[in-house]
Subunit: 276 residues, 6 copies
Amino acid sequence: MTLQRIVLTGALGDLGQHLRAPLAAMCEALVSVDLKDAPELLPNETYARADVADLPEMERLLQGADMVVHFAAIPDERPFEELLRPNFLGAYAVWEAAARQGVRRIVYASSVHAVGMHPTAHCIGLDAPHRPDTFYGLSKCFAEDLARLYWEKRGVEAVCIRIFSGTETPGNARALGTWLSRPDLIRLVQRSIDTPVTGFAVVFGISNNARAPVSNAGATFLGYRPQDDAERWAEEILAAEPPRDPQDPAHSRLGGPFAAVPLGESGVAWIRRLTT
Amino acid sequence: MTLQRIVLTGALGDLGQHLRAPLAAMCEALVSVDLKDAPELLPNETYARADVADLPEMERLLQGADMVVHFAAIPDERPFEELLRPNFLGAYAVWEAAARQGVRRIVYASSVHAVGMHPTAHCIGLDAPHRPDTFYGLSKCFAEDLARLYWEKRGVEAVCIRIFSGTETPGNARALGTWLSRPDLIRLVQRSIDTPVTGFAVVFGISNNARAPVSNAGATFLGYRPQDDAERWAEEILAAEPPRDPQDPAHSRLGGPFAAVPLGESGVAWIRRLTT
Amino acid sequence: MTLQRIVLTGALGDLGQHLRAPLAAMCEALVSVDLKDAPELLPNETYARADVADLPEMERLLQGADMVVHFAAIPDERPFEELLRPNFLGAYAVWEAAARQGVRRIVYASSVHAVGMHPTAHCIGLDAPHRPDTFYGLSKCFAEDLARLYWEKRGVEAVCIRIFSGTETPGNARALGTWLSRPDLIRLVQRSIDTPVTGFAVVFGISNNARAPVSNAGATFLGYRPQDDAERWAEEILAAEPPRDPQDPAHSRLGGPFAAVPLGESGVAWIRRLTT
Amino acid sequence: MTLQRIVLTGALGDLGQHLRAPLAAMCEALVSVDLKDAPELLPNETYARADVADLPEMERLLQGADMVVHFAAIPDERPFEELLRPNFLGAYAVWEAAARQGVRRIVYASSVHAVGMHPTAHCIGLDAPHRPDTFYGLSKCFAEDLARLYWEKRGVEAVCIRIFSGTETPGNARALGTWLSRPDLIRLVQRSIDTPVTGFAVVFGISNNARAPVSNAGATFLGYRPQDDAERWAEEILAAEPPRDPQDPAHSRLGGPFAAVPLGESGVAWIRRLTT
Amino acid sequence: MTLQRIVLTGALGDLGQHLRAPLAAMCEALVSVDLKDAPELLPNETYARADVADLPEMERLLQGADMVVHFAAIPDERPFEELLRPNFLGAYAVWEAAARQGVRRIVYASSVHAVGMHPTAHCIGLDAPHRPDTFYGLSKCFAEDLARLYWEKRGVEAVCIRIFSGTETPGNARALGTWLSRPDLIRLVQRSIDTPVTGFAVVFGISNNARAPVSNAGATFLGYRPQDDAERWAEEILAAEPPRDPQDPAHSRLGGPFAAVPLGESGVAWIRRLTT
Amino acid sequence: MTLQRIVLTGALGDLGQHLRAPLAAMCEALVSVDLKDAPELLPNETYARADVADLPEMERLLQGADMVVHFAAIPDERPFEELLRPNFLGAYAVWEAAARQGVRRIVYASSVHAVGMHPTAHCIGLDAPHRPDTFYGLSKCFAEDLARLYWEKRGVEAVCIRIFSGTETPGNARALGTWLSRPDLIRLVQRSIDTPVTGFAVVFGISNNARAPVSNAGATFLGYRPQDDAERWAEEILAAEPPRDPQDPAHSRLGGPFAAVPLGESGVAWIRRLTT
């Protein structure tokens, strides 16, 4: 099954940019969407500068699409008011446009921060309840519930990938457990697309790390087999790790620094401070 | 412990109006809030005409409040865009204002429709995952997750009461299981207020119906003991009940007609059609 | 909703005979079926002497029926070969005939002996797996699985009532927990019929005994509220109870004597011996 | 079944003294054991001044006993070294003596403090893991595990009653949920004795309080039906209750003040301070 | 431990034929049983043409056997009446003969179709309840319950292998998850035999497929480590896969085509139609 | 993070001796403690001959320690009185001394025998309740509960490693499942130390055996990836294995011979007898 048309939102973002080529290889036409200027394009790629929260625009872009890979969002904690349009209304517009246009499935960049307040030591599975650690995490909870609603009422399939630490390499002790390598991200998105029937599914986006603090046992049917393991960096990273307060949410909760940052303040900035 | 000040939003709504007197009896000053003209007031009641989604206004109204009983919302399915302000942004503004003002606890009118797609025959407990049946239900999922976030990050306690069928009397066969009598609603709100410590809690708002399709076993510490039972109306209602298609969500899912109504269309209108 | 036609199999059996009048009151025409001579009939009752394992006969009898209350079976342990026709093939014929005739629902006399090897002290719920204690119990497991199959593939609803000790009064110490009074049996059958939608459901048939060793929490939507309690007989019965070996299955497993009787031998005879 | 001989340890303690008469009525000879001088005796009661940690002495006292009701212990938090003999070694000696003497069953005064660190709002069941709040609670965990070991290896039955707040009347807001009335304590001990077979069982010792924060659903076979409800005192107690810090273990954990008291310091003294 | 005698039923069937050599290597004498003419035999193999539902015959054949590997059955959906003798009565006769002859263990070819109505996306474990998809699946439910009964009442051990797609190579998209390679089948049967003690066990017969939709975590003690992975065929198979209706049981339930085929009609024929 | 000081108790024991070098490599100063004469020391190792149950001595030894690896204990079943000091009081003294000295974490040699009465075929996870098989196992239950108490009340982290069969090579059929190789033991202790935050954690100490009868899924965050597999010895061991009684606890329970040995008698002697 080669797909006719895949729409990738957030195509120029930190993670989205790595998906353009693999997705282009899975379909006849890739439509990349982002807010920035057009990049150099792949042979079967077109680009649209568009705001995902603009429903008529999204409806137009999704015409004839088989699937949407929805990665557009502010990927950090911010005041609720700032996240409202890109993260919350954007999700609504994408799903509503998809339903109207008969799009089969949405692959969604959810996040560990939807369950970030769970203690790392609990090693939760996919059935753990939402425990957002930030407004950012709350936007992911919202979109997951929205996705389930559109599946049950409108028949739009959804795979919600809860991305953990999607960095080039694991940058700190927490990431020894939570790292998602770029190749594994690509594998997971590919499986989310080529699995014939998914219904509504949630899956953790995490590499095959020895220290992975969660279990994907509830979504094995997707066939995601991560190949990378952050353990390669363990010795070096742990050597530099100072003792940590075991009560500090930044070191004892799944969400890491996001579990400790005040609501509305940038978690990415916190991480930077913590690791420099 | 007599409370100084309780703020009741949606005070003139279908359910809120029944809470004014009981709440007034539990505190020195009740502040009733709604969008309509001021009603005749109780001795220790003041009234504010205000939009709950107006954060500065809410912040002002919540000054000095011990607790907020947040019932303001559109109590029906509507297009997402119509629910956005009153149900979603209203919830955000109430919690944010409460956190800023040091309000201790919010008692929230959540709804069965946050879990309305679960089959009635599953007899779920409080740990069942969100399965909203409408945008309306989605707004309740959003507020519950928001409540948990504010509890974990800001220390605001919350009791989310998932109200089932809050009508005067049970009006149809489904309500034999889902009815929440007015006196039981009042009891449940009272317990949600007088329990010394609640943290974040969710509880089903349902009477002591013989046919109640859910279990409150996960929230017994709240001391809610419903006294009414819809079974009194069973013979009469069932005599008039035609055979039902067991595959029809309106008759096999917790959400009833909301589980069957198209997204964005009034579920209340559907119920009316179904029962007349 | 008054039903047109209910078919009651095993209508002259130990339990079935108590259901004739209550069922006759719930429908316009009751068809009672058993292997014996015709009894004196109720005004709206007809009687058919028939073997439930005779599929063409059952198909004829079920024409126009809304529901079947299937109680016909050998109610005791016997060699497998003896149970094959009445209990196994009888169940198959009833369900197949029902599916062919468009019967809406079957209310089935399943038994505690489908789960009789579970320790009494485990206080299982309705989600405990099958652990039959006899060929008799195995026939009930078979029929429950058959019922689920016909619900999922043919849309025939089913309520499987796992009857515990359906005696006039509780006759021994075990029955202080397992007794099902005749009035409670009738209540449970009534609820299994008047509940508008049941899909496939399993429920324990047990009175409101203080010592009830199981929980019906998974089937509350049926509205079954038992009124009788064997505790009334506790003092008298326990006074006569000799010390029991706590390892003896007859006293430590849900199935009681059936859990101890050799496969194929009458459990009823065992009980008689044990209590005399 | 009238028992020949019951041995009651801690017979002159706060709770034990209320059990003498009811136990005497259940057997031909009651042997009361405590460390104090002999009290006035009931007709069929004998008294032994003995240290339960003295194994030869216990072995002598348990000769011919059917059951032991083991309530002797320091009922408060103390340094580990002080609890070692009465609570830990006492439990060992009682079980070992019972096994040697062929005693059928031990009814044991365990405590909520074996699980006292669980949050009240979790409404745990009997399957929740041990989370002791004190050395005192740890001694109860030890005895429960010991009891299970003697059941599995030596065949001694055990009912471990986790007593909550065994006071005359509920003395504070926590006790509205945790109260165990004297009559209900007696009922529970009676059921623990007259149930023919118990194997190893754990049950919460708590009255029928509206606000009871735990579920006994896992031990219903014992037939314990509490009759008292602390709610009668709710209005009076709650009126005097100041606001509580929801993060304070003394108000948010099952163990109450014991969850907050430093290890080794008297929890009873803490409670007194908290309530005066 | 070399076994004296293993009896293999269905020895000439699609799967059974691959077991003859491996089983012969595990014992001194292999007795192969089937309905067809005798094949060319292995050195320590004997052959019996026999109907497994013939109890006296089975009793004779099982004399002196240590274990039975029971694979004889119609391996497809058929009218109940056609499956009755080979699948239902055959299972009964094998277990009863084994119990009479003191056979230690039966390794049974159960099937995914015993749980075939579970949604693939649920990724069930071994504790999921029976949900047969066909009469064929029902016969496997029956035999599993029978096996448990004979273990608990007669001490006959049983390993029920729920075989998924036991084809030479994975033939369609579903089989990318459900394939059981021949070498893995042999491994699993070997482990089911050489594990010293099994009691009653159920295990999924499935290869180490990346897309395996179930978890064998509940039976790890058997030491089954599958080595093959259908993913090798994924690219080729998925390229040819047309879009699927996510509501179609044939593509969304574990049982695949059997979940969609009408009761009593050949599922194998359906599969053939679906894949050609 | 290089640690300043690790204290290893039981440093000359069967398992402890293998930890000296690896632990010495993880810290600046290793303090080895045992009851025997001093061994030849590593460059950064000091040795103390001391009784772990001697609290003042332990307090002195733990000054300045970051972590304690507590392996000192009688590693076999003995009369309770003999185990009391080394195993029970030793654990208490180590934890109390650690809390007083501000030691960050204790890595504890717990044992499979804390859960040894669970049937092997149940394949339990880390959430299974305590079911000790011996007084030895009871001492491990005691220390695990103690560890949780000190974590919750005093903030001392703990990793309780439930060691299975810590022999040089797997010595019998049971050990094919339960073996913990020396290198894997070292890996697990290393991970228990280098994980930045552990809180209170329990983990099974078992190699990557094909037949491992338990799941470590609840403690994956520790990053323990065993590398050895007892299966290498399977053919040889199983060839010599006689048939086993499936009801014999020595062959059907996790604890193996300890599950069968009379309370207080050496399990190690039993194993020796069973395997010679």
